[in-house]
C-alpha cells in the first residue's frame, strides 16, 4: 500500500496554442501514515499534482498508483468511484462549494451518493461534523450562517464522511485568521495521529510545515526538486529560496545572524532552544 508516481507528465490543452506542461517527469513515493507538505511557488504544479490522486486529472504520460489502483496515461481508469472513497480531496476555498440547506444534509450528500441509506448517511454526517469540531447546535443551520473558518470545516467534514484513508488538502488555511489556521492544522494532526489517516497538504505556510508536517515535497516549474523529511529540509534554505518560499521567521533570524558571523545549528528550531544557544555561545567566549 503506497502512493507512487512514475515518470508522470501532465499537459493542459494538448495540441492547442494553449498547450502547457504543468508536470514533467514526476517520480515520487509518498509514505502512508504521515503528514506530507507539498510546497512550491504559485504555478509550480502543486494543485495539478494532488488532483491526480483521486483521478480528477489523468496523466498525459506515465502513471501513478494509489494503494491498489493504477491510473495510466491513455487508459480509461477503472473503479474510479472506489478510489474516490479512499482519497478525499479538499479544494482551495472549499467553503464555496457548500450547497445544501443544512450542515447535516451537506455532509450526508457524499455518503448518500456512494449508496448509503438516508438515515445512516445522517449518522455518518453527525459523526464527521463532531470530528471537525463544529457545535451540534449549528448542525441544522444553513452553512451560509457560519463564519468562513466554520464553513471550511463543514466542507472537510463532507470529505471525512466518506471515510477516506488518504486526505488531500489544497491550501486549507488560506484566508483564515492565525488561530483559525492553527486549529485547522491541529485537526489534521489529530486525524493523522488518532485515525491513522495519511495527510497531504498543499501550503505556502512554512511555519505550519515546521510545526506540523513530517515530510516535504518541493515543486518547481512542474518538477519535483526535493522530497525529504522536515529536519533535512530546513537544514538547507537553498530550496526555499529556489521555490521562492518565505522561510519560517526563526530560520530567517538565524540567517541574519549568520551574515554577522554567528551561526546556529540547523536543529535549533524553537525559541527556547535558540535562547539557550545564545546564552551558551556567550559563555564560551
Amino acid at each position: 500500500m503506497s502512493i507512487h508516481f512514475e515518470k508522470l507528465d501532465h499537459i493542459y490543452s494538448p495540441n492547442t496554442v494553449f498547450e502547457f506542461k504543468a508536470l514533467e517527469d514526476v517520480s515520487l513515493d509518498i509514505d502512508l501514515g504521515k503528514i506530507t507538505a507539498i510546497i512550491g511557488a504559485t504555478g509550480s504544479g502543486k494543485t495539478t499534482l494532488v488532483q491526480h490522486l483521486n483521478g480528477l486529472l489523468l496523466p498525459s504520460k506515465g502513471f501513478l498508483t494509489v494503494n491498489d489502483f493504477t491510473i495510466k496515461a491513455d487508459e480509461k481508469p477503472k473503479k474510479i468511484k472506489d478510489l474516490r472513497k479512499q482519497v478525499g480531496l479538499v479544494f482551495q476555498f472549499a467553503e464555496y462549494q457548500l450547497f445544501e440547506e443544512t450542515l447535516i444534509k451537506d455532509v450526508a450528500f457524499g455518503p448518500k451518493n456512494f449508496g448509503v441509506s438516508e438515515q445512516e448517511a445522517e449518522e455518518i454526517a453527525i459523526r464527521a461534523l463532531v470530528t471537525v469540531g463544529l457545535d451540534p447546535k449549528d448542525f441544522n443551520k444553513s452553512p451560509l450562517e457560519l463564519s468562513g473558518g466554520q464553513k471550511r470545516r463543514v466542507a472537510i467534514a463532507g470529505i471525512l464522511a466518506m471515510a477516506p484513508s488518504i486526505l488531500v488538502l489544497d491550501e486549507p488555511t488560506a484566508g483564515l485568521d492565525p488561530q483559525g489556521a492553527k486549529s485547522m492544522m491541529e485537526l489534521f494532526t489529530m486525524l493523522n495521529k488518532e485515525k491513522g489517516i495519511t495527510v497531504l497538504i498543499v501550503t505556502h505556510n512554512m511555519e505550519h510545515v515546521l510545526e506540523y508536517c513530517d515530510e516535504v515535497v518541493v515543486l518547481e516549474s512542474g518538477k519535483v526538486i526535493m522530497h525529504t523529511d522536515k529536519k533535512e529540509f530546513f537544514k538547507n534554505d537553498q530550496y526555499m529560496e529556489k521555490a521562492s518560499i518565505d522561510p519560517p521567521v526563526i530560520i530567517a533570524f538565524k540567517k541574519m545572524c549568520q551574515k554577522q558571523g554567528v551561526s546556529f545549528d540547523s536543529d535549533v528550531l524553537t525559541i527556547d532552544k535558540l535562547v539557550s544557544e545564545v546564552v551558551k555561545k556567550r559563555g564560551k567566549r
Binding site: D177, P178, G180, A252, G261, I271, V278, V279, K281, R282
Partner: protein, 276 residues
C-alpha cells in the same frame, strides 16, 4: 487639524440580532501607519466600509480629514480616502491596466492630456509600467493588487485603507505588496490603515486597534498591545515571533533593546555574543 480620521461612538448592525459595531471611538493621526486586528467576524471589515461610506452608520460620527462624513459630501470624502480590497479579482473595471487606472480619473473629470502622464507616473510607482496594455485577468494576484493600489493613488488620495489586501496572495505577492505599502507610507506621506492577520506587519506599524465583537478592545503602540498577552490570546490573536524571542532573551539575562525589528534584534544578539 492633524487627525486623518476621527470616529466617535460609531454603531452599526447588519440585522436585528446584535450590533456589529458597538460604540467604537478612535482617532488616527495624519501620516501614521495603523493596523486593525481581530479574529474573523470581529467587525474589522465593517469598520473599513463605514469609513468609506460604503455602509451607512446607525449612529455616531466619522470625520475624514476634518470633514464629517454624510450622504451629501460622499464625493468630497472619496477624494480623500480610498480602499484596496482583499480579493484581487473583485476590483477591476477596465479591460486593460491603463483603462483601469483611468477609470477613477475619468470620474474625477481629469483632463485627457493630463491623464496619460498621471497614469504612467503611478504605474511606475507600483512597478507595472510594462503591463499597462495587459488584461487585468492575466496578471498574478500581487500584480493585480499593485494595479488596484495605483488606481487609488492616481486619484491623489491621502488616506488608504487596505482591507486584508495581502491575505489571498502567495508569499512572494505578500512580500511585494507589504514593501510597496511601507514605501508609500514613508515616501508619500500617505496615511495607511491596514486591516490584517499578519502579526509581523502589525509589529512594524505605529498604532494598533484591536477589535473584538464589534468593540475596541485595546489600542496603542504594538509594544503596548503585545504586552497584554492574555487579552491577545483570549481574542485568538498571535504574538509575533520577534516579540516572543526578545522577551525570552531578556528573561535569560541577554541584553537586548526593546526593538520589534527582526534585523535589529539579530544584530544585537550577535553583538552580545561576539563582544565581551
Amino acid at each position: 487639524m492633524n487627525k486623518a480620521i476621527e470616529v466617535k461612538n460609531l454603531k452599526y448592525r447588519y440585522n436585528d440580532d446584535s450590533l456589529t459595531i458597538d460604540d467604537i471611538s478612535f482617532s488616527i493621526e495624519k501620516g501614521s501607519y495603523t493596523t486593525i486586528i481581530g479574529h474573523n467576524g470581529s467587525g474589522k471589515s465593517t469598520i473599513a466600509k463605514l469609513l468609506l461610506g460604503l455602509l451607512e452608520k446607525q449612529s455616531g460620527s466619522i470625520f475624514i480629514d476634518g470633514i464629517e462624513l454624510n450622504y451629501e459630501n460622499l464625493n468630497q470624502i472619496r477624494n480623500k480616502i480610498g480602499i484596496v480590497f482583499q480579493n484581487p479579482d473583485n476590483q477591476f473595471i477596465g479591460s486593460t491596466v491603463r483603462d483601469d487606472i483611468a477609470f477613477g480619473l475619468e470620474n474625477h473629470c481629469v483632463d485627457r492630456e493630463k491623464m496619460d502622464s498621471i497614469i504612467e507616473s503611478f504605474a511606475r510607482k507600483v512597478n507595472m509600467t510594462e503591463f499597462l496594455e495587459s488584461e487585468p485577468t492575466k496578471l498574478s494576484g500581487g500584480q493585480k493588487q499593485r494595479v488596484a493600489i495605483a488606481s487609488v493613488l492616481a486619484m491623489d488620495l491621502k488616506i488608504i485603507v487596505f482591507d486584508e489586501a495581502t491575505s489571498m496572495l502567495d508569499p512572494t505577492g505578500k512580500r511585494e505588496i507589504n514593501r510597496l505599502i511601507k514605501e508609500l507610507h514613508q515616501e508619500n506621506e500617505i496615511t495607511v490603515i491596514s486591516i490584517t492577520h499578519d502579526i509581523e506587519e502589525v509589529a512594524q506599524s505605529d498604532n494598533v486597534l484591536v477589535i473584538d465583537n464589534g468593540r475596541l478592545a485595546m489600542s496603542g503602540s504594538p509594544e503596548k498591545v503585545f504586552s497584554n498577552e492574555k487579552v491577545m490570546v483570549k481574542m485568538k490573536l498571535d504574538i509575533p515571533f520577534v516579540y516572543k524571542l526578545r522577551n525570552s532573551l531578556k528573561a535569560e539575562g541577554v541584553k537586548v533593546s526593546n526593538t520589534l525589528d527582526l534585523e535589529r534584534l539579530a544584530s544585537e544578539v550577535c553583538q552580545y555574543i561576539l563582544k565581551n
